[in-house]
Amino acid sequence: MSNESEEKRAKGLEFKNVGNKHFKAGEFEQALKQYYYALLHLRGLNDNPMALSKAKDPEDIKEEDVTEHDKELSNIYSNMAMCQMRLAKYDRVISNANQALKSNPFNKKAKFKLAQGLIREGSVIRAAKILDELEKDSPDDPAFAAERRNIAVKDKEADAKQRKDLGGMFSRGTIEK
C-alpha cells in the first residue's frame, strides 16, 4: 500500500478509536460522527473499478475470503448500528447492519443487530430466522432469549391489533340489494 494510503488508513483507524471512546461514554451522536469520518477514510482504499462489477453472491463467499480491511469496515458499520439502537432509530439500525453484512456476511454482531432492528420495526418473521441461525452457534446466549421474548410480545400485540381491526367484520355495514 502506498504511503498516502497508509496515512489514510491510520487516520481512519484513529477516528474509529475515538468513536469507540464516545460510545463507551454514552455519547452516541458523537460516536456516529467519528465512525463516519473513519469510513470516509477507510472506504475506497482498496478499490479497483473492475471489482465493482463483480456481483457478490453471499452464498459464494467463504469466511476465509473476507479481507481484514472488509472486516474492519464491517465492524465500524456494526458499531454504528449499536449507536442507532441506543438512539432508538430502528430504521437506521437495519440500514447500518445491512451495510455491515455487505462487507462481512459472517459478522455475528451485525446479524444480531439486524434481528433486533427488524423486531422493533415489526418484521418478526425475518428476525426469527436470523435468531435461528445465530442460536445454532450459541444456543445459550441470553441476549437471543431476550429477543425471542420481544418477538413473543410483538406477536401478541399484532394479534390483539388484528382482533380489534377485524372484530365484527361480518356484522359491519349492509349489502345493497
Binding site: K8, K11, E29, L32, K33, Y36, Y37, L40, H41, R43, G44, L45, D47, P49, M50, L52, S53, Q84, K89, R92, S95
Partner: protein, 175 residues
C-alpha cells in the same frame, strides 16, 4: 438553502448546496445522523477535479427530487432481472449525461469509484453503462489492451474459460 462544505483529497474545499449534495447517499446519511457542521466533510478518496465534475452532475440534476432519496427497488430487481434495471437507467439519461461521459478512460474510472464511494446510483449506472458500451464488439485481447487488464490465467485455465464461454461470442471471437 444550506451549504455543505466538502474537502477533497488534495485539500480543495468545495461548497455545495444541501439539495445538490443530498444526491449522495453517503452525505445524506451523515447529514441525517450527525447534522451539518462548520467543518467540511472530508472525502479523502476523491480528488478535487473529480469532485468538481460530480458537483456539476449534481447541479444539473438538482431538480429531480427522487435522486435525494434511497432508490426504490425496481420492478424485477427482486428476481435479479438486469433488463428492467438497465432499461430504467438508460431512460434516465439525458444529453447532458452523454456529454458528461465524453472523457478519458482514467477520469471515467475515477468517477466510477467516486460515485460508488459517495453512493450516487444514477451516476454509477451512467458510467457503468458507458464502460459496458466500450466493451461491445471487442475481442478478449482488445479488451485487455483497452482496460489494461493483466492476463493471470494459466494456459489451461484460459483454454477452459474460452471453451465454456464460446457461446456468447461470434465467429470472430467478438463479444
Amino acid at each position: 438553502m444550506r451549504v455543505i462544505k466538502l474537502a477533497a483529497a488534495d485539500g480543495a474545499v468545495i461548497s455545495v448546496e444541501q439539495d445538490m449534495a443530498e444526491q449522495s447517499g453517503t452525505i445524506r446519511n451523515i447529514l441525517n445522523d450527525v447534522g451539518i457542521s462548520s467543518t467540511p466533510i472530508p472525502v479523502p478518496n476523491v480528488s478535487g477535479p473529480i469532485l468538481s465534475k460530480i458537483v456539476d452532475y449534481w447541479r444539473h440534476h438538482r431538480g429531480d427530487a427522487s435522486r435525494r432519496r434511497p432508490r426504490e427497488p425496481l420492478p424485477g430487481e427482486e428476481n435479479d432481472s438486469c433488463e428492467a434495471a438497465t432499461q430504467h437507467a438508460i431512460s434516465q439519461m439525458d444529453d447532458f449525461d452523454h456529454e458528461f461521459c465524453r472523457i478519458d478512460q482514467g477520469t471515467l474510472f475515477d468517477i466510477m469509484l467516486a460515485a460508488n464511494f459517495l453512493d450516487v446510483p444514477p451516476l454509477l449506472d451512467l458510467v457503468g453503462y458507458t464502460v459496458a458500451n466500450k466493451m461491445k464488439g471487442k475481442t478478449v485481447a482488445e479488451m485487455r489492451d483497452t482496460f489494461q487488464v493483466k492476463n493471470d490465467f494459466t494456459p489451461e485455465e484460459e483454454e477452459k474459460v474460452l471453451r465454456e464461454n464460446a457461446w456468447c461470442e461470434d465467429d470472430n471471437g467478438r463479444s
